[in-house]
């Protein structure tokens, strides 16, 4: 039965996409990322110089996250993506599920001062199957015109609708709202995941969310919160810091980021298992994650490089000409109360928390 099913899937998928893939050449790489300003920063910093240097053509495709497509390709035995940009939790889960190639971190180039790559990357940036490129964070931002008397300063303010009235935008999902709720309730950054590991802690987080439930508009795509803020639909919203930066700089919106309680996460390169161009994909990873290339990317978007040695090389924005460092989640000024997303905890608890969250939401 299983074999027949596998064969039929393969036949169906092959019949549908076979025509498209046959045109792909061996000397081209298909690289998949999140689109928008973020893909633009990768094209400028990695793709263009790489093509210039090696002659390898790069097809850039967009996706909206998740491993469903990769798993479908791997199971059908017809992998058309060579490299993709994923979140940490997906990098770990994909590796667990055996749908990603393992990557030997020792092949990565050393820092300019000779520090080996394994020491140069920040903690957690190298996993069995993935190499990190950037550090991004979920923060909250508000519209300064809505609070002429002074805006919110802390995570607690976000959950205080009597002090700062108005609708809030939050990501529709348990992560990272549970962390935010506990920070607002006074839990120390270092204790967040210990508290969340107890059922009383989870109840406590949901109780905090209960306080603003009726004032929340939920978002799903990263592009939504800046739009909601611009439309006046909400007065403050959690968002990915790069999206808010883009609205501030490229669109001159009067938004202000509150860095208190920001939750850091990573984006990483992974190679789907069975990629037809694995060697070329590995070569591209080596090239794009060296010190210079990671620093280059920071010229286009306000995400921090995953190498320590790149930090000193961050300059000004490519077109707006402003200094990028203060806008990085990794800037010392912004890091004071930052929390590193605990992917182990989320890999263990995501299913239960998402079900609880969905049940809570529907009530």
């Amino acid at each position: 039965m299983n074999k027949i099913l596998k064969f039929s899937t393969f036949a169906a998928v092959a019949a549908l996409i076979g025509g498209m893939t046959s045109a792909a050449m061996a000397d081209a790489l298909t690289i998949v990322s999140w689109g928008g300003a973020y893909t633009h920063s990768q094209v400028e910093a990695y793709h263009k110089p790489y093509t210039k240097m090696t002659g390898t053509k790069i097809n850039s495709e967009d996706y909206s996250g998740g491993l469903a497509e990769v798993r479908a390709q791997v199971e059908a035995g017809n992998v058309t993506w060579d490299l993709l940009d994923v979140e940490l939790s997906d990098a770990v889960r994909g590796c667990d599920e055996g749908i990603l190639e393992t990557i030997d971190a020792s092949m990565l180039p050393a820092a300019p001062d000779g520090t080996p790559a394994t020491d140069d990357f920040i903690d957690g940036a190298l996993t069995d199957c993935a190499v990190a490129t950037i550090v991004w964070s979920t923060v909250y931002a508000y519209d300064t015109t809505k609070f002429p008397a002074g805006g919110p300063k802390s995570m607690a303010d976000f959950f205080d609708t009597s002090k700062f009235p108005g609708k809030r935008g939050l990501r529709k999902g348990a992560k990272p709202n549970l962390e935010f709720a506990l920070i607002a309730d006074g839990v120390k950054a270092a204790d967040i995941y210990d508290v969340l590991s107890t059922s009383a802690g989870v109840d406590r987080a949901f109780a905090v969310l209960d306080k603003i439930k009726d004032d929340v508009i939920w978002w799903e795509a990263g592009a939504q919160p800046p739009q909601m803020l611009a439309d006046g639909e909400v007065v403050m919203a959690t968002a990915y810091n790069g999206r808010i930066f883009n609205a501030q700089v490229a669109e001159n919106k009067p938004f202000e980021i509150v860095w208190d309680g920001q939750i850091l996460d990573l984006d990483l390169w992974v190679i789907p298992k069975g990629s037809k161009n694995k060697a070329a994909a590995l070569d591209f990873i080596k090239y794009s994650t060296d010190t210079q290339r990671l620093a280059d990317q920071a010229k286009y978007i306000s995400y921090g490089p995953a190498r320590k040695s790149s930090s000193g090389m961050i300059g000004n924005h490519a077109t707006a000409g402003i200094a990028m460092l203060p806008h990085m989640p990794t800037a010392p000024e912004n890091m004071k109360t930052a929390i590193l997303n605990d992917f182990e905890w989320w890999a263990d608890h995501a299913d239960e928390m998402n079900e609880r969250f969905a049940a809570w939401l529907a009530k």
């Binding site: 039965m1 299983n2 099913l5 039929s8 899937t9 036949a11 169906a12 019949a15 549908l16 998740g66 491993l67 469903a68 798993r71 889960r93 590796c95 667990d96 599920e97 055996g98 393992t102 609708k167 529709k172 929340v216 508009i217 939920w218 799903e220 439309d231 006046g232 639909e233 182990e344 890999a347 263990d348 608890h349 995501a350 299913d351 239960e352 998402n354 079900e355 609880r356 969905a358 049940a359 809570w360 939401l361 529907a362």
Partner: protein, 423 residues
Amino acid sequence: MAVTATTPTADDIMLDASGMPLKQALAIAERNKRRKALIMALPLLAFILVSFIFPIIQMLFRSIDNPAIHDNIPNLSREIQDWDERAIPDEALFAILADDLRAAGKLKNQGKVATRLNYDITGSRSMITQTARKLKKKTEGPYKDWFIGLNEKWGEMRTWVALKKASQKYTASFYLNSIDMRYSETGKIVAQPEERQIYLTLFWRTFYISIAITLICVFLAYPISFLMATLPVRTSNMLMILVLLPFWTSLLVRTTSWIVLLQTQGTLNDLMVYFGFIDDENRIQMIYNMTGTIVAMSHILLPFMVLPLYSVMKTIPPSYMRAARSLGANQAYAFYKIYLPLTIPGVAAGSILVFILSVGYYITPALVGGRTGQLISNFIAFHMQKSLNWGLAAALGGVLLAAILLIYLAYNRIIGIDKMKMG
């Protein structure tokens, strides 16, 4: 009886031009015709088989298929079935588990086992991966105390009961999960804890929202179709274009237009504030909730109701109504007695189209549904794309498929599918 069956003699048989018995010639011609029809339908049949039948069979198979633990730690999966569930297993079973996990770790399959067990026991994922990692260095027993010392969950009954259930080759646990049930610590089927119950609520919501949308569509489409069927061609063509224009516009464009119109800072609220119907502070929330889903979906599905209704109404001669009036019925009675029954096939066709389409609708509720307007399809997509729990996604799809088939059968009993008419 006067007529008796007689075998025709050779002279009675009618022959065609070539001398073949006519009956035989007809049979051959008929057979050729059927074969030709079959050949012409063959591409479609093949297409349906590949793109429709096989995926459905595959989905149904996936909803019970449970290879993750069974295939990757095979010896334990076999031996644990004999365990009596009275006390924590003895050293022998721990040793088998250790060997299996070590072997799985070499092939990098421990993650699959871990992910699968984590569906049933939250937190067991890290327990498995951590144990498999440590087992690389621990090459010989005794294992039992070592396991429990590593992670106390190994010393809990529920871990082992769950492992026994989850290691069977086929499982009902995805179906149980999809109707808010689960296996308890003692292996009995019980309801999920209340804070995790979502799917039944979502199934009910999906059905009553779909029924509401169907009713709204009938209500809106009936007068329009009537006008289109009775007005002069020039005007009715104009109306037809108005109905079809949104039909030709991208689904996303139409959905986002509703966002622009209905959001709290949107056109409709602005107008109501401007004319003083509501205060600026009390703008009405009309989108990102169930209202948004119903409004946007009714608009999107309206043409599916208008078109069958129109084509049925077009075939009703106006003389019927005139005849009823001339026989003394007033307008309302004539409509109720003559016109309405004649349009029922159109209403039936439109209703089943709209209902079935809305039960499976995904993108519109995802965009405008907010908190209270999400349908079951959004959660199937969630498990397909985000949680990667394809077994659960398949089981949810299976339940939905079964429900639709039941409704279809009931519909056939009550209204009769042969009465349905597309025109």
